[in-house]
């Protein structure tokens, strides 16, 4: 097993054709580079990777162009450039909802991984505040929603696909039920189609929402939304009850957020280049009891942390030595010289085990740091512009390191073109493009034990077990005795012949000796 970190940057605005922009997928634990993608750059949160390994894809919303670039894992240049109705600023993917579908009571076996596979929905937010939702396997545009007054900075699906959350520069955050957005085939006249309203709209913030994160919840009631904003607040919401649980007020603007996989802490990337750990519960020093921090609409002011017990500082270091070495990118150096504006931590991600924090900053650097010691564990080849998206995927070692077999011809590799107009309300026109997967457990397969027991049964059927069997035996014994008799007769015959021969021989011998003696 290996963990692969994918990161992509915003691209140098001077570089019109993104010639200098690269996106990389690199191992966390060793020096393997798993994949690289050329001419890839996007606005913050404007890229999504379906997974790591052959057969997976990277979708990148081209900045300032109404274009979506689709890369196949293992190929450096884009496979497809799909025109969009509008330039998108952020993307989010969700895979088919199937966690409850493949439990034992429903169906005993899963499907094998087909070579052609695409997730379920792609959502995008635009500069004009619209949310677009496409179904990937058909390419149909299922929904266009004018959701916000200003550019949407981030969209995210909950893991189960139930909710879509969008955060925007207009300081609002809207939560949508996915089902409302995509139910397009109900009723044919436009009037009956209810204009989907947001499930909940959050207007607590005063400045732009910069990032948001949804917890992975096994129970939909436990779904938590973490929003961070330029107004220096981290807010935690319970989605199902539409209630604000806790507000954390930080000393400075927040640019990015990620939570511990087990929900023990939140990590915030601040505009000043610090990464701040916000524990969600700690030990009360008076009672020595573990207590939750916040909740119940509490407002918690997060003090400065002079002892750096909860702060990662490595992004703040603008190492002059580093800039002098030729290792760093030229433009980075230039930037350093030009403006000394503070480095902000633009994107955060967390590793599988929750012990490594992956962070990208506005200088294009990406670090992996150990959460407990707050030390940098690994640095990556920097990009030439602010990091816009980071994704960590754990995958089997050989899946990441085998060169992708491009056996699949292009026709079967490309995803359907996206429609630029809303999908028809007529269900008959709903047509999917996919490879039907094969059953993981073939009904005909049987293991050796089953085979052997079947053969035992057959063996038994060959054998005669009936009562008739014994009579057959008596017949056979009588046959034996008769053959014995035959043999005895034969023996008698042979011995008779032998004695005859013997006597003849003796007679001859006598004759012979007689002849000899007579001589």
């Amino acid at each position: 097993m290996d963990e692969s970190i994918f990161y992509i940057a915003e691209g140098d605005p001077a570089d019109k054709h993104s010639q200098e922009s690269f996106a990389m997928a690199t191992s966390v634990h060793n020096s393997h580079q798993h994949a690289s993608f050329r001419q890839a750059d996007c606005a913050k949160n404007g890229a999504v990777l379906t997974g790591s390994g052959p057969g997976e894809r990277l979708l990148v919303a081209s900045p300032n162009k109404a274009l979506l670039n689709v890369y196949s894992w293992g190929k450096e240049s884009p496979d497809q450039r799909i025109p969009l109705p509008e330039a998108l600023t952020c993307l989010s993917l969700v895979s088919h909802p199937n966690s409850k579908l493949f439990v034992d009571s429903m169906r005993s076996s899963q499907f094998n991984l087909p070579s052609f596979r695409i997730p379920w929905l792609l959502a995008g937010g635009s500069k004009s505040g619209k949310i677009y939702v496409w179904e990937l396997s058909s390419g149909s545009l299922l929904c266009v929603k004018e959701a916000h007054y200003q550019a949407i900075s981030v969209v995210r699906f909950s893991k189960c696909g139930t909710f879509l959350v969008a955060g925007s520069d207009d300081a609002r955050c809207t939560i949508w039920k996915t089902l409302d957005l995509i139910s397009i085939f109900q009723g044919e006249d436009e009037d009956t189609v209810k204009a989907a309203k947001p499930f909940h709209a959050i207007t607590d913030n005063t400045l732009a929402i910069s990032d948001l994160y949804l917890s992975e919840a096994g129970l939909i009631n436990d779904l938590r939304l973490y929003t961070v904003s330029k107004d220096s607040t981290l807010r935690i919401y319970d989605i199902m009850t539409k209630s604000l649980l806790t507000t954390f007020i930080l000393p400075e603007a927040i640019d990015s957020v990620v939570t511990d996989p087990a929900g023990r802490a939140v990590y915030l990337g601040l505009a000043s280049g610090l990464i701040r750990t916000i524990p969600l519960y700690n030990i009360n020093p008076n009672t020595m009891v573990l207590e939750s921090i916040g909740g119940n609409r509490k407002i918690v002011t997060v003090e400065n942390d002079p002892n750096l017990n909860f702060t990662f500082v490595h992004h703040q270091q603008r190492l002059s030595a580093e800039t002098n070495t030729s290792l760093l990118h030229k433009s980075l150096k230039k930037k350093n010289d030009d403006d000394n504006k503070p480095i902000s931590v633009t994107k955060l991600a967390i590793s599988l085990d929750g012990t490594n924090l992956v962070s990208g900053d506005s200088l294009g650097r990406v670090f992996v740091s150990d959460i407990i010691t707050r030390q940098v564990a690994k640095t990556f080849t920097p990009c030439n512009s602010p990091i816009s998206y980071i994704q960590v995927n754990a995958a089997p070692f050989d899946a990441l390191n085998t060169p992708s077999s491009s056996k699949v011809d292009k026709k079967h590799r490309l995803i359907p073109q996206f429609k630029r107009v809303l999908a028809s309300r007529n269900p008959i026109e709903h047509q999917l493009n996919l490879e039907i997967p094969s059953e993981a457990k073939d009904e005909e397969e049987e293991d050796f034990g089953d085979w052997l027991s079947r053969k035992t049964q057959e063996d038994l059927e060959f054998k005669n077990l009936s009562g008739v069997n014994s009579s057959v035996k008596t017949v056979s014994t009588s046959a034996i005795s008769s053959s014995n008799q035959e043999l005895e007769e034969k023996l008698a015959k042979v011995s008779n012949a032998y004695t005859e021969l013997r006597t003849k021989h003796e007679e001859l011998l006598k004759e012979h000796s007689k002849v000899l003696s007579s001589k």
């Binding site: 088919h96 909802p97 199937n98 409850k100 579908l101 493949f102 439990v103 009571s105 429903m106 169906r107 499907f111 087909p114 052609f116 379920w120 929905l121 058909s138 189960c160 696909g161 139930t162 039920k177 089902l179 995509i182 139910s183 085939f185 109900q186 939909i220 009631n221 199902m240 929900g263 023990r264 524990p279 519960y281 700690n282 030990i283 020595m288 573990l290 012990t355 407990i372 010691t373 269900p427 008959i428 026109e429 709903h430 047509q431 999917l432 493009n433 996919l434 490879e435 039907i436 997967p437 009904e443 050796f448 085979w451 052997l452 053969k455 035992t456 057959e458 063996d459 059927e461 060959f462």
Partner: protein, 722 residues
């Protein structure tokens, strides 16, 4: 236990006395074949081949099966594969109906197994498999009727792996399979065989040289067209035009063009209303078409295909909408029998359609969600209704349909994790709860002649034909014996349905309480009537879900469920809520460890916490460990001076000896007059002990009451226990 090779070779010389041990040892003891010498291997193979060649059926059978087992070994397969293969093919070729069928099946199985083994290894495939493949396919096709299931499945596999080689045989196979579909007996074929036939037809497009996906799509579309053309027959019986939506559905679905009529798979229907039996052909035909369509849409394709999902769903909608509940019979259909038969065919159609939709959910998952409301509304039509109430009698008669319906709805519901609108679901919930209601046979109904309608209690007139004059006294005296039990499959399906419901939808109170009531009663019953007092797994998960998803209810079921089965690990987490452990950077300082201990052992007995803390400290301060522990324990006891002295005295003594020497501490302390200042660690640990609970203190008190000699021994024992 395995039979040694020498014995195996000997056995194989003539008719083997016991073949099973040989097979199992050859398979499980890989060392036999891996370590086999060249002459032995020659012997083994030639004897196996001799057996397979033998005219004796048993020997032939045994030889064939040994081939399958020794084919596992790569060396034998590589050297002798050709001969083994040839022999099997020869046997297959010479097979006729006078020979035991087991020879045929074993031969085919062994052939398939060898094919599987060879496939993917380029040289072997080139040398052995490819030259023979065409022969194998021809022979399989020839012998198809002897063992259809096995051979069709084998052919399906060959199509999948060798589409190009299969190409010349495609039409022949298709004709054969469609010939099966045309048979009148086809409906009565065993389901696995039917499925194999459907799936093989569905895989056939793979052999197309160019654009198999286009052929696939054409097939699917023409199936839909054919389905529609069959459905139009209902126009003769029912006033389909009464329902504008049905007319619209008909219009929406494509029909065959004049020149496309040849694409039909099935021959024309011949239905005579005077021969009611012939009406059932309609439902048979729709079953075939739907199942074939299902095979196309759910059986694996090796290539990406364009699936007209919307079209298929619309076709299903049409199938379900043709329903006598909303449509009236045409005037000229007066015969009651015919009416009943037509109704029966529509019910059968909807059942097949429901099964189909359920299967679709597994393959198309989220893509079905845009259609969800639509699907629910056409499924709802199937629920039998009478006078704005679910028709209980009808429901029980159609129990099979109803359970299929519930299982389909629960599958669809599992696609969503949260559904805010419960209105489309309510009818199914009512249906489910009715299905598991106790089925009481009304004695009044039974006592009366069957044809007299019951005046009041119309809901429960399940009737038993009771026209004969059997005494009814049993019925009156032992009524409980006449209560029909709910079939286990029904209750299983209903439980799965309820599971899907309570995890996705917040139901209105009425339904919610009814479900909860059902669950609790069932659980208590189930537990009571088995010796182990256990609750079946399905019900258990249902109860746990009822706790996890309280829905509307603000009062949790937790106490009830906990008392029914409190030993469940998940419920234990619920009853003893905890935070996940925090990651902590372990410094060697004892203070850190102390803190960590506090955190991790939060839920444990305080007593233990203290003990472990002490342990930790003891371990960290190697030499002083034992005395320190003892000191800690006595710390709470007012004998402070004593403890301090102990510290002093025993600080440099081997911990093991402490136990022995302990009794004399009190005396010795008087000799050592000077009390040494308490070390910092000691100070710290004594702070920690404040946390310790009263239990520990009381223990100490008790010990204090004992004699001087006994006190430390008890202490030691105590700490060991901890």
């Amino acid at each position: 236990m395995s039979v040694p090779l020498s014995l195996i070779l000997k056995e194989l010389e003539g008719t083997p006395s016991a073949i099973i041990p040989i097979l199992s040892s050859l398979y499980y003891d890989k060392s036999i074949l891996n370590g086999i010498s060249k002459p032995d291997s020659k012997h083994l193979v030639s004897r196996t081949l001799n057996l397979a060649r033998s005219a004796n059926e048993y020997n032939k059978w045994a030889g064939t099966n040994i081939i399958r087992v020794i084919g596992d070994n790569y060396t034998i397969l590589a050297n002798e594969g050709f001969n083994l293969f040839n022999q099997l093919i020869k046997n297959l070729e010479s097979y006729n109906e006078t020979i035991n069928i087991k020879i045929l099946t074993s031969t085919i199985e062994s052939l398939n197994y060898l094919c599987d083994k060879i496939r993917g290894k380029p040289t072997l495939t080139r040398e052995i498999l490819t030259p023979k493949l065409a022969t194998i396919i021809t022979l399989y096709l020839e012998k198809l009727h002897y063992s259809p299931l096995l051979i069709i499945r084998s052919l399906k596999k060959l199509i999948k792996f060798h589409p190009t080689t299969f190409r010349p045989f495609g039409n022949k196979l298709r004709a054969k399979l469609i010939g099966f579909l045309h048979l009148n007996e086809f409906t009565n074929f065993p389901t696995p065989l039917k499925n194999a036939i459907y799936q093989t037809i569905a895989t056939l497009p793979a052999i197309e040289k160019t654009d198999p996906e286009i052929k696939w799509e054409l097939d699917v579309r023409s199936l839909v067209k054919e389905l529609k053309s069959v459905l139009t027959i209902y126009q003769e019986f029912l006033n389909l035009n009464d329902d504008s939506s049905i007319v619209k559905l008909f219009e929406n679905l494509p029909s065959f063009e004049e020149n496309q009529q040849s694409e039909r798979i099935l021959p024309d229907l011949a239905i005579d209303v005077n021969e009611p039996q012939s009406v059932f052909q309609i439902s048979t035909r729709i079953e075939i078409l739907l199942n074939l369509l299902k095979a196309y849409l759910t059986y694996e394709t090796q290539f990406s295909v364009k699936v007209p999902l919307g079209l298929v769903l619309t076709a299903n909608e049409l199938v379900c909408s043709i329903n006598v509940r909303f449509l009236s019979f045409k005037g000229d259909i007066r015969d009651d029998q015919i009416r009943k038969i037509i109704k029966a065919t529509t019910v059968l159609n909807s059942m097949n359609s429901v099964k189909f939709v359920k299967e679709l959910a597994f393959v198309y998952k989220g893509s079905l969600l845009p259609h969800l409301d639509n699907i629910f509304s056409f499924l709802e039509v199937i629920v039998p209704f009478k006078n704005k109430k679910i028709d209980y009698d009808e429901l029980i008669i159609q129990e099979l349909v109803s359970t299929e319906l519930l299982s389909c709805v629960s599958t669809l519901l599992s696609l969503v994790s949260y559904l805010s609108d419960y209105s489309p679901i309510l009818r199914f919930v009512d249906l489910a709860l009715l299905l598991v209601e106790p089925r009481v046979v009304d004695s009044q109904t039974l006592a009366k002649p069957a044809n007299i309608n019951v005046i009041s209690n119309g809901k429960k007139n399940k009737k038993k034909k009771n026209n004969s004059s059997i005494p009814l006294s049993d019925l009156l005296s032992h009524q409980h014996l006449f209560a029909e039990s709910i079939p286990p499959t029904t209750s299983k399906t209903v439980r799965e349905f309820l599971n899907a419901i309570i995890t996705t939808v917040s139901l209105p109170p009425t339904q919610h309480y009814r479900i909860m009531r059902y669950l609790i009663i069932e659980a208590v019953h189930a537990r009571h009537y088995n010796n182990e007092h256990l609750i079946p797994a399905g019900l258990k998960s249902l109860l746990i879900n009822a706790v996890l998803f309280p829905g509307y209810e603000k009062i949790s079921l937790l106490p009830i469920v906990s008392s029914i089965f409190g030993d469940d690990p998940l419920l234990s987490v619920f009853n003893n809520p905890r935070f996940p452990p925090l990651p902590i950077y372990i410094k060697s300082a004892s203070a850190k460890i102390l803190e960590e201990q506090e955190v991790e052992d939060e839920d444990e007995d305080e007593d233990e916490v203290v003990a472990e803390v002490k342990d930790e400290i003891a371990e960290n301060e190697n030499e002083e460990s034992q005395p320190k522990r003892r000191k800690l324990e006595t710390n709470i006891v007012p004998a402070e001076a004593v403890s301090e002295d102990k510290e002093k005295i025993f600080s440099e003594v081997n911990p093991d000896t402490v136990i022995q020497f302990a009794p004399s501490t009190a005396k010795k302390s008087s000799f050592v007059g000077e009390a040494s200042p308490i070390s910092e660690e000691t100070q710290h640990t004594s702070d920690a002990t404040i946390v310790s609970s009263g239990v520990a203190v009381s223990n100490e008190d008790i010990e204090e009451d004992g004699s001087d000699f006994e006190m430390p021994e008890i202490n030691v024992g105590d700490s060991d226990e901890e």
